[in-house]
């Protein structure tokens, strides 16, 4: 039965093996003008509006030209502790309510000793002028070593607020009427050692709280956002383990590939995650016991909200470092049960608990449910899971992602249609945790390029095509490690851009230069606190409509493949970062859509009928499209 060897279902596109595959070549041997697979020529998917004679470009790093001068500090170059390797995040949010997207970066310190000595780092804020030019603004005056950040309207007043966490700190920042982020109440645990105050004397033996990624969601659909606080491990800042864990003859060396490296997470104690219930005014109460009754601590690095069963409530996927991941199923009232094993997403397809780093959801196969990508450590592929009626199927190997990504240590991840062709791209930020990766025979490198792949999934056919950087100014070109990344349209052209927080270096701002495409940009908003009717507290949509699902059906020519595109409003995407709440639909060759449906967290469904692409629209719950503008 020879035919079965060829399988015939798998189409691998792009080059083989390793971190830097060669560009796919045409029959004549010259680099292909685009990385599209031959199987991707269906009329509905071709970005018809683009000028095929123009040189191909992708995400052009315009950080310096646009005034983004953030430079990350993440400890010492040698990385003596795991804290120094995890890097920082970035949040995309609208400050001042002027309709453009501003940036807030978290920041670390030059060393652990510097943190203890103080002063710690503040957040770094950059205001957008509306055209994508940034100006540094004063920070909120925090002091610490900051990792994860997430934006959302915590007090339902119509503007975006922020929660930021780090090593020994968790702060709420509420946006005031002047667009400033003002520190609010601190949702810290009662443990007096949980807080690390830079400059204050501290005894050894008391590891502080360590927050990595944060997720905002409305767990009980009361119209108020709650927070899942992902926490990492117990690291004693005064006497961190160096060289080995334990003592005496049974001490275990901290090593990787035979080289001494920083200790952890293996052999260290994970910190349990927490769940904070939103009150509605920007304050929170610790509701961990009720929300996470059987929680098992697991070195959380990323957490992302999604809707597992399509029942309208928000579930969570938690990416754990080195231990099984969690799929926390919401009972509808905000109490979660881990069903990762039964859903097939706890461990790899080979049954290995891998080092989950980042997670992003998106409808890769365009079947109306949320698939997801999960980044992992080097030697472990970035995993791709497709939603099915009874869980997920692991599509990693059928896409050839192991071959493509196993040498990479990937962090943040996005499933976003950057080129507007109607299929999602998979973007990952990469970079090893160990500087020793550059030594001989590690099979990987410390600095790693960011990667972007086109994905298509038609029936049983899978294609994966790596987008090679168009030139040295592409954010995909430099071999530099990055950690947190976020997506947002910074110059208002309707195309999603990508901001990268590079570890120990300047941030990159990848402006989308894929060319013109048919797009629709959608913003969903719910009722403000002031607009709410008194009484009912359940079945509400929050002011920024996190959790709203939008289904768009592109109009296609007769004979072309019909499909629907699903997107969900969430800001907690990737790793330690927060992306835009605006939804970016690429319509491929279609210049219009036949239907647009919004399923609000409250349970209400709005059918908005057909419409044209090339617009940016705002939909308010119960009121349809309340504003629209033509994209340039």
């Amino acid at each position: 039965m020879k035919a079965s060897w060829s399988v015939g279902l798998v189409v691998f596109v792009g080059a083989c093996g390793g971190e830097e595959p060669a560009p796919r070549t045409t029959a004549s041997g010259s680099p292909a003008a685009t990385a599209h697979a031959p199987t991707q020529t269906a009329a509905a998917d071709a970005p018809s509006a683009s000028d095929s004679s123009a040189p191909r470009r992708d995400l052009v790093d315009e950080a310096a030209a646009r005034g983004l001068d953030y430079v990350n500090r993440s400890g010492e170059p040698g990385k003596r502790t795991v804290l120094e390797a995890n890097g920082a995040g970035v949040a995309v949010l609208d400050l001042h309510g002027d309709g453009d997207l501003d940036l807030v970066f978290t920041q670390g310190c030059p060393s652990l000793a510097a943190l203890l000595q103080g002063p710690g780092a503040d957040l770094e804020i950059f205001h957008n002028d509306g055209a994508g030019k940034f100006t540094r603004a004063a920070g909120p005056g925090l002091s610490g070593w900051w990792n994860g950040v997430v934006a959302g309207d915590l007090d339902n007043d119509g503007d975006a607020d922020l929660i930021v966490g780090g090593f020994g700190a968790l702060r709420v920042l509420l946006q005031n009427e002047s667009g400033e982020l003002v520190p609010g109440p601190e949702p810290m645990p009662n443990d007096p050692h949980a807080r690390l105050t830079p400059g204050e004397a501290r005894e050894a033996g008391h590891p502080p709280l360590w927050v990595t990624s944060l997720a905002l969601l409305d767990a009980d659909t009361d119209g108020v956002l709650d927070v899942y606080v992902g926490q990492y491990l117990e690291l004693d800042p005064v006497a961190p383990p160096v060289g080995k864990l334990g003592s005496g003859p049974l001490a275990a060396p901290c090593e990787w590939k035979g080289y001494e490296v920083f200790c952890g997470p293996h052999g260290m104690k994970p910190q349990p995650d927490r769940f904070l219930r939103g009150v509605g005014d920007g304050s929170f109460v610790d509701d961990t016991a009720r929300a996470l009754p059987n929680h098992v601590a697991g070195f959380t690095l990323a957490v992302a909200p999604f809707d597992f069963e399509g029942d309208g409530d928000t579930d969570l996927y938690v990416a754990n470092d080195s231990v099984a991941n969690l799929l926390l199923l919401n009972d509808g009232r905000g109490s979660f049960t881990d069903v990762a094993y039964s859903a097939g997403v706890a461990v790899s397809m080979d049954g290995r608990a891998e080092a989950g780093m980042g997670v992003a959801f998106g409808d890769v196969d365009r079947d109306g449910d949320q698939d997801f990508a999960l980044t992992n450590f080097s030697g472990e592929p970035t995993a791709l899971y497709f939603a099915t009626p009874r869980g997920f199927t692991n599509e990693t190997f059928r896409f050839g992602l192991q071959r493509e990504s196993r040498a990479l240590l990937s962090w943040s991840v996005h499933l976003t249609d950057f080129d507007g062709d109607g299929w999602l791209e998979l973007a990952t930020s990469n970079g090893h945790v160990y500087p020793q990766a550059d030594l001989a025979d590690t099979g990987t490198t410390y600095g790693q390029r960011a990667t972007l792949w086109r994905l298509t999934a038609r029936g049983a056919e899978r294609t994966l095509a790596r987008i090679e950087p168009h030139g040295a100014d592409s954010v995909l070109a430099p071999r530099l490690g990055a950690r947190g990344t976020a997506v947002g349209d910074f110059d208002g052209d309707g195309a999603p851009d990508l901001v990268l927080n590079r570890i120990d270096g300047p941030a990159a701002l990848g402006m989308n230069r894929f060319g013109a495409a048919n797009r629709l940009v959608v913003r969903c908003v719910g009722p403000l606190r002031s607009e709410r009717a008194e009484g009912a507290t359940a079945g509400r949509t929050s002011a920024d409509a996190l959790g709203a699902r939008v289904i768009l059906v592109p109009a296609v020519e007769k004979g072309a493949e019909e499909h629907a595109l699903l997107a969900r409003v969430d800001t907690s995407v990737g790793y330690q970062s927060s992306s835009t709440p605006w939804l970016h639909f690429g319509l491929g060759a279609s210049t219009s859509y036949t239907n647009l449906r919004v399923i609000w967290p409250s349970g209400k469904v709005e059918e908005l009928g057909p419409g044209a692409a090339g617009r940016r629209i705002t939909i308010k719950e119960g009121r349809g499209i309340v504003s629209e503008e033509k994209l340039p």
Partner: protein, 390 residues
């Protein structure tokens, strides 16, 4: 060197290993012998030593890869690159190290680099399949592993890895039910293989997919147990490499092999331990346990005796030695050992409880009922619950 230790260490290759080529059978190692019989014996000895050398090397390289040090394997492999023919399993491990450290092309180059002994070529074929599998070339991997896609057994069925790779390739292609049959066989063949937890997990997932919750739970439980065992093993191997002269890590490693009921592996580890710490009573005791597990009671007796030489109050060694005496019909020696425990300074220890009962039973069987009752009463006093009559 202690008399009892020498043969053991030679047998396990800890001492007496010949210097020089690893894989070239007999090269530069033939002693000057004259008669055909002597020559025959000599060549058998050389062959035994070669096999032992290769086994030791393969085991060490597997451990080295277990702790993720591919460059060490590569460095050693490079030194012996000119030897020929290689043992196929060793060459496959060198290629695996090359894959881990340098990528697919280097790994394939290693596999083609040197001829291998004909009886070991299967390892090369398996490693090729593994490389294809790890490169997402799933159909290619299956083509190497199976004669026909409908085959229910791999071409190299005696090799557990062939079952693992075939099961994994089918599973990765989404054919989980088909993969499960191969993975189940792999787990049967190699329950303590480093990949066993992974295979058990995959089996659990497949059981869940067909709604067999009980099977899934069972597989998951076993997967967790095996994963824990593997994780301890990895740490112990690391500790041994880190502190080679410390007895505890090697003892821990030997205990893990005893737990896996692999007495031969345990004996080899203990031989290494005792070569470094010949007066380490716990090492001798565990060697006795390993010998006992392989039904080598005289060797076990000798090992327990050595343990007692260095720690006369080692309760378990003395009890087990007494039991071997009793089984061999040497009642007075057995009685003497049991009495030494129950009348000794550790008589009230939990570990001594069985000795009270054993002595009581021995006395009863020897026609001393009163003494037996007295000893039995003491046994009950200390918390024993078994009846006097066995």
């Amino acid at each position: 060197m202690k008399r009892a230790l020498r043969p053991l260490l030679v047998a396990f290759g800890v001492v007496g290993a010949l210097e020089g080529a690893l894989f070239a059978a007999g090269r530069a190692q033939t002693a000057d012998v004259s008669s055909p019989a002597q020559r025959g014996e000599e060549s058998k000895r050389i062959e035994r030593e070669r096999v032992e050398r290769e086994r030791e090397l393969v085991e060490r390289w597997r451990d080295t890869l277990l702790i993720d040090r591919p460059k060490e394997v590569l460095a050693e492999a490079e030194k012996h690159a000119a030897d020929a023919p290689w043992n196929g399993e060793a060459l496959a491990l060198a290629a695996r190290a090359a894959f881990m450290a340098r990528g697919r092309d280097e790994a394939l180059a290693w596999l083609a680099r040197t001829p291998v002994a004909p009886e070991t070529t299967a390892w090369i074929e398996l490693e090729r399949a593994r490389i294809e599998l790890e490169s997402d070339e799933l159909p290619k991997a299956l083509a190497l592993l199976l004669r026909d896609a409908n085959e229910r057994a791999p071409k190299l069925a005696p090799y557990p890895d062939a079952w693992l790779y075939t099961g994994r390739a089918w599973t990765r292609l989404g054919e989980t039910a088909r993969g499960a049959a191969f993975l189940a066989r792999f787990v049967e063949l190699a329950p303590f293989d480093v990949e066993a937890p992974s295979a058990l997990h995959a089996l659990a997932q497949e059981a869940l997919a067909r709604n067999d919750g009980a099977a899934a739970t069972n597989y998951l439980r076993r997967a967790d147990e095996h994963a824990k065992w593997q994780s301890y093993r990895r740490v112990r191997v690391l500790q041994v490499r880190e502190s080679p002269d410390e007895p505890l890590p090697r003892l821990g490693l030997a205990q893990l092999w005893l737990q896996a009921r692999d007495a031969e592996r345990a004996k080899r580890v203990l031989a290494e331990l005792l070569a470094r710490c010949p007066e380490y009573a716990a090492g001798w005791f565990h060697l006795g346990e390993a010998e006992r597990l392989s039904d080598a009671l005289p060797a076990a007796l000798e090992a327990y005796t050595k343990a007692l030489e260095f720690e006369p109050e080692h309760v378990l060694a003395r009890h087990n030695r007494g039991t071997i005496h009793r089984l061999a019909g040497r009642t007075s020696e057995a009685r003497s050992d049991y009495e030494r425990i129950v009348d000794g300074p550790r008589a009230a220890d939990k570990t001594a409880l069985n000795s009270h009962l054993a002595l009581a039973r021995l006395l009863a069987a020897s026609g001393e009922p009163e003494a037996a009752q007295r000893r039995y009463a003491r046994y009950r006093e200390l918390g024993g619950a078994e009846a006097l009559a066995p």
